[in-house]
C-alpha cells in the first residue's frame, strides 16, 4: 500500500469516527397493524422516558400502521422496520422465511410466544341492537349487514374468520362442510370488504354501513368510548378466539442500523408492569397476572379457543383457508 493510500484510508477512518462521535437521538421504526395506533402512541412515550432515564439516550419511535399482511409484505419488500408488532405470527413467519430478516425461531425469544398481550373478537352493533344480534348465529340471518375486513390483507379479518369458523365447528359438531356453509352465508352478508381493521371501523362507524362490526376487542372498546356510547353497543358472543398478536425485533435491519439493543429493550418493556398497564388501558388483555387482576372488570368473560386447538396452528390455518385457491377464495368468489 502506498503512502497516498494510507493517507486516504486514515482520512476515511477519521471521518467515520467523527460521524459516529455526534450521538443524536436513536430512531426506531415499529411496523404494526391497524388498530394499535393508540396503544403504541402511549407506549412509545413511556418507553422513550424510560430509556432516557436508564441510558441518557433519546429515542424517537416512528410508527407505521396498516393491514397486518400488507405490513409484512412491506417489510419483506424493504421497509426498514426495527421491530414488527403484527396481528398474527404467520405474518412475522413470512418475514423470516421470505426475506430472512430474522431467525425462524423468533417466537421463542420472548415470553408467551412473543405475544405480550392478547385480545379477542367481539361485535359492535348500533345503539339498542335493533337487529337483535346476540351471537355468531345471528350474523347469517338474511338482511344483516356484517362489516369485516379482507382476510387476504388484514390480520384482524383472519381472526374474525377463524372465530366464526370455530363457532360453527362447535355448533355443528365439527362438521367442516356445515362450517363452510355457515361462513359462506356470513360473507354473503358482508357488503364492504376493507383492507384493514381500521378501515372496517371507519365503514361501520363513520359511513354508517352495516348492522354489526366484527372487531378486535380493543377496537370495539375504543369505538365505544371514543366515538360515543350513545351510538353503539358491545355484544359479546358465546364463544370467540384468543388472539395473540406477536412482536419481534427485525434482526438484520436492527443490526445494520445499530439499534438491536434498544429494539430488544423496547419489546421487553412491553412485558414490564408499566408496559402491561398501558396495554390494559388500551383494552388489550395483559399477560401479567397482577395487572390482569386489576383490569378484570374491564374485559368480558367468554369461552375462548386458540388457533392451535381448533386449526392446528397458523401455518395450517393459513394454507387451508387464506392461501390463493383456499377456502376463503372459494367462499368469496361464490358470492
Amino acid at each position: 500500500m502506498t503512502r497516498t493510500h494510507r493517507l486516504i484510508s486514515l482520512s476515511i477512518l477519521l471521518a467515520a469516527g467523527f460521524a459516529r462521535g455526534g450521538q443524536g437521538p436513536v430512531t426506531l421504526l415499529n411496523v404494526s397493524y391497524d388498530p394499535t395506533r393508540e396503544l403504541y402512541q402511549d407506549f412509545n412515550a413511556a418507553f422513550s422516558k424510560y430509556w432516557k432515564a436508564k441510558t441518557g439516550v433519546d429515542v424517537v419511535i416512528k410508527q407505521s400502521h396498516g393491514g397486518s399482511g400488507k405490513q409484512a409484505r412491506a417489510v419483506i419488500d424493504g421497509l426498514q422496520a426495527d421491530v414488527v408488532t403484527l396481528a398474527l405470527a404467520y405474518d412475522i413467519d413470512a418475514i423470516a422465511e421470505k426475506a430472512g430478516l430474522l431467525p425462524r425461531n423468533w417466537q421463542s425469544r420472548l415470553p408467551d410466544n412473543s405475544s405480550p398481550y392478547t385480545s379477542t373478537i367481539v361485535f359492535l352493533v348500533r345503539k339498542g341492537n335493533p337487529k337483535h344480534i346476540r351471537d355468531w348465529g345471528d350474523l347469517v340471518r338474511p338482511g344483516i349487514g356484517v362489516i369485516t375486513p379482507n382476510p387476504k390483507t388484514s390480520g384482524g379479518a383472519r381472526w374474525n374468520y377463524l372465530a366464526a369458523w370455530g363457532y360453527a365447528l362447535k355448533q355443528y359438531s365439527n362438521d367442516e362442510g356445515k362450517a363452510e356453509d355457515f361462513v359462506t352465508r356470513l360473507y354473503k352478508n358482508v357488503p364492504v370488504l376493507d383492507s384493514g381493521a381500521r378501515g372496517a371501523t371507519t365503514t361501520f362507524v363513520q359511513r354508517g354501513i352495516g348492522d354489526v362490526l366484527l372487531a378486535w376487542e380493543n377496537e370495539a372498546f375504543l369505538a365505544l368510548h371514543e366515538l360515543g356510547k350513545d351510538k353503539f353497543d358491545l355484544v359479546v358472543p358465546s364463544v370467540s378466539i384468543l388472539a395473540e398478536p406477536p412482536v419481534s425485533v427485525v434482526d438484520k435491519v436492527a443490526n445494520h442500523r445499530g439499534t438491536a439493543a434498544v429494539a430488544k429493550a423496547y419489546l421487553e418493556y412491553l412485558y414490564s408492569p408499566e408496559g402491561q398497564e398501558i396495554a390494559a388501558r388500551n383494552y388489550y388483555r395483559p399477560r401479567l397476572k397482577e395487572v390482569a387482576a386489576r383490569y378484570d372488570n374491564r374485559f368480558p368473560h367468554l369461552a375462548l379457543f386458540t388457533v392451535d386447538e381448533v386449526f392446528g396452528g397458523w401455518q395450517k390455518a393459513q394454507k387451508k383457508h387464506f392461501e390463493d385457491g383456499g377456502i376463503f377464495d372459494r367462499i368469496y368468489q361464490g358470492r
Binding site: 500500500m1 502506498t2 497516498t4 493510500h5 338482511g143 349487514g145 357488503p191 364492504v192 370488504l193 376493507d194 383492507s195 378501515g199 365503514t203 359511513r207 354508517g208 354501513i209 352495516g210
Partner: protein, 446 residues
C-alpha cells in the same frame, strides 16, 4: 225504519268499527315495509359509495406501486410509477465497411466488421442510484466497456464507482454514436479509454460549471483494463464551463470550453497503442521497451454549436515515461484536431446526435437529417522516441496528419448511416499515406 233495515245498519256499523283498526294496522305495516326498503336502499347506496372509495384507494395504491412498460423512439423501458426504479434496455450495433485505397496504404485488409456490438442495461434503483452496464462483443472479443453505479443524491456532487471513461479528453467523453465521424480523432489517442475507479462530479452555478475528479487503477493511453498493474494509481480531472445560457436565441449559449488532465505512475502498465483513422497501428515500440515512471496529460478543449453548425476542437499533450534497459526518459506526445459539421436539413447540432425533424419515411415525405462534416488533426512525438531507442523511424513514424470528410444520414433517432473518407499522412518515406473509405450502419438506443 224496518227491523230488517235497523239490523242491516247495525251490522254495517259494527263492520265499519271492526275494520278501522285493520286498515290502520295495514297502513303501519306498509309504512314499516317502506321504511325497511328505504333503509336497505340507503345501506346499498352507502356500501356502493364505500366500495368505490376503497376501489379508488386500491387503484391509487396500485398506481403508486405499479410500473409502466414503454417501447418508443427512446428505447425500451420499465419504470415504477413513483419513478424510483427504472430499467432501460438498449443496444449499440455498428456494422462497418473499411476500404483502403492505394498500395501500402494499410497493413489491414479491406473488411466488413462488427465494430461495436454492445447491449446496454441501465437505469435507477432507489431513486438516487443510477447504474450502467455495457459489454462489447464486437470484433470477435468480449470486453466490459462500462459497468458502474452512480449515487446522484446531490446534483453538485455525484459519486460514480466502477469502470467508465476517466474525465480527460472531450471527444473521448462523447458517446461513439454522437461523434460526427466514424472513428475518433488523433487527440483521443492520448487519453485513457476506460478505467476502474471512483469519480466525484457535479454541476455548479446553474450548470454553468461542470467538474469531475477521480482516482483510477491506471491504463495506457487509448486503452482499458480490468485490473491494476501495480499499487500505484492514476488521477484524472476535468473542469468545463458553459457560461452563456439563454437557449438557442443566444449565439453564445452553445459555447463550452475547459481543460482535462491526469497523471500517475505508469510502472508495469501496458504500452500505448496509437491508431490511425483506418485503425492501423502506426507507432510500434521497440523490443524491450516498457512503461516506467510518470504520465502527465493536459487536454484543453472546446466546442461551439449554433443552429445547424458545430465545431469541436482539442489539444492534448501527454508526457509519458519509457524505459529500455538502463535508459529511462519521458517522451512528449502532442495531438490536436479541429472538427466542424453542418446539418443540411436544419436540425440543431449539439454534443449529442440530432433528432431528425422528419424521420425517413418515403410515403410521408420524411428524409431524416443529413449532415456533412470535416476535420483536420495532427499527432507528433518528440525526437527522443528515436534517440533513446524506444522506436525506429522505419517502423514508427513520429508524425501523422489527417484530414477526414464525411456525410451522416440520421434516418431517425435510432438509425444512422455514415460514409467518411480519411487521409492520414505520416511524413515518412517508409510509410505510405493511409487513404480509407469507412462506411457504417448503426442502430443505437439507450
Amino acid at each position: 225504519m224496518s227491523q230488517h233495515s235497523r239490523r242491516f245498519g247495525l251490522t254495517a256499523l259494527l263492520t265499519a268499527m271492526l275494520s278501522a283498526p285493520v286498515w290502520a294496522q295495514s297502513t303501519d305495516e306498509k309504512v314499516q315495509e317502506l321504511q325497511q326498503k328505504v333503509e336497505a336502499l340507503d345501506q346499498r347506496v352507502k356500501a356502493d359509495e364505500r366500495n368505490k372509495e376503497l376501489k379508488d384507494d386500491a387503484a391509487a395504491d396500485e398506481a403508486k406501486n405499479g410500473a409502466a412498460v414503454t417501447a418508443d423512439t427512446s428505447g425500451f423501458k420499465i419504470r415504477s410509477n413513483d419513478g424510483n426504479f427504472v430499467l432501460k434496455i438498449g443496444a449499440d450495433l455498428q456494422v462497418d465497411n473499411r476500404s483502403f485505397e492505394g498500395a501500402g496504404s494499410s497493413s489491414l485488409p479491406d473488411t466488413i466488421l462488427l465494430r461495436r456490438v454492445r447491449p446496454t442495461f441501465s437505469g435507477t434503483i432507489y431513486k438516487y442510484v443510477d447504474f450502467f452496464f455495457r459489454p462489447d462483443f464486437g470484433q470477435g472479443q468480449t470486453v466490459i466497456y462500462d459497468a458502474y453505479l452512480e449515487l446522484k443524491y446531490f446534483s453538485a456532487a455525484n459519486l460514480r464507482v466502477g469502470k467508465f471513461k476517466p474525465p480527460e479528453g472531450l471527444e473521448r467523453l462523447q458517446s461513439d454514436d454522437d461523434t460526427s465521424f466514424i472513428e475518433r480523432g488523433l487527440p483521443t489517442l492520448l487519453v485513457p479509454s476506460r478505467d476502474i475507479g471512483y469519480q466525484l462530479s457535479g454541476n455548479l452555478l446553474k450548470r454553468r460549471v461542470y467538474y469531475a475528479a477521480g482516482v483510477f487503477n491506471g491504463v495506457p493511453d487509448n486503452g482499458l483494463a480490468d485490473t491494476a498493474a501495480s499499487d500505484h494509481r492514476s488521477y484524472s480531472g476535468r473542469l468545463f464551463l458553459t457560461p452563456f445560457q439563454g437557449g438557442s436565441e443566444n449565439p453564445l449559449s452553445g459555447l463550452g470550453f475547459g481543460v482535462g488532465g491526469g497523471g500517475g505512475n505508469v510502472d508495469k502498465i501496458a504500452l500505448p497503442s496509437y491508431k490511425s483513422f483506418g485503425q492501423n497501428t502506426f507507432v510500434t515500440f521497440a523490443s524491450g521497451v516498457v512503461a516506467a515512471g510518470h504520465r502527465t496529460t493536459l487536454a484543453p478543449h472546446a466546442y461551439y454549436y449554433f443552429g445547424p453548425f458545430g465545431v469541436l476542437s482539442e489539444y492534448t499533450l501527454t508526457e509519458e515515461g519509457f524505459q529500455k534497459g538502463a535508459v529511462r526518459r519521458d517522451i512528449a506526445f502532442r495531438a490536436w484536431q479541429v472538427a466542424a459539421s453542418y446539418i443540411l436539413t436544419g436540425e440543431h447540432k449539439s454534443f449529442t446526435s440530432p433528432t431528425p425533424r422528419k424521420a425517413f419515411d418515403l410515403r410521408n415525405g420524411g428524409w431524416g437529417a443529413w449532415e456533412v462534416a470535416a476535420r483536420v488533426g495532427d499527432f507528433s512525438a518528440e525526437r527522443g522516441l528515436y534517440s533513446y531507442g524506444f522506436a525506429t523511424p522505419a517502423q514508427s513514424p513520429r508524425h501523422a496528419r489527417e484530414w477526414v470528410g464525411g456525410v451522416n444520414w440520421y434516418l431517425n433517432r435510432l438509425l444512422r448511416i455514415s460514409v467518411d473518407y480519411g487521409n492520414t499522412n505520416f511524413a515518412s518515406a517508409s510509410r505510405a499515406s493511409e487513404r480509407v473509405v469507412l462506411a457504417r450502419f448503426q442502430i443505437n438506443f439507450i
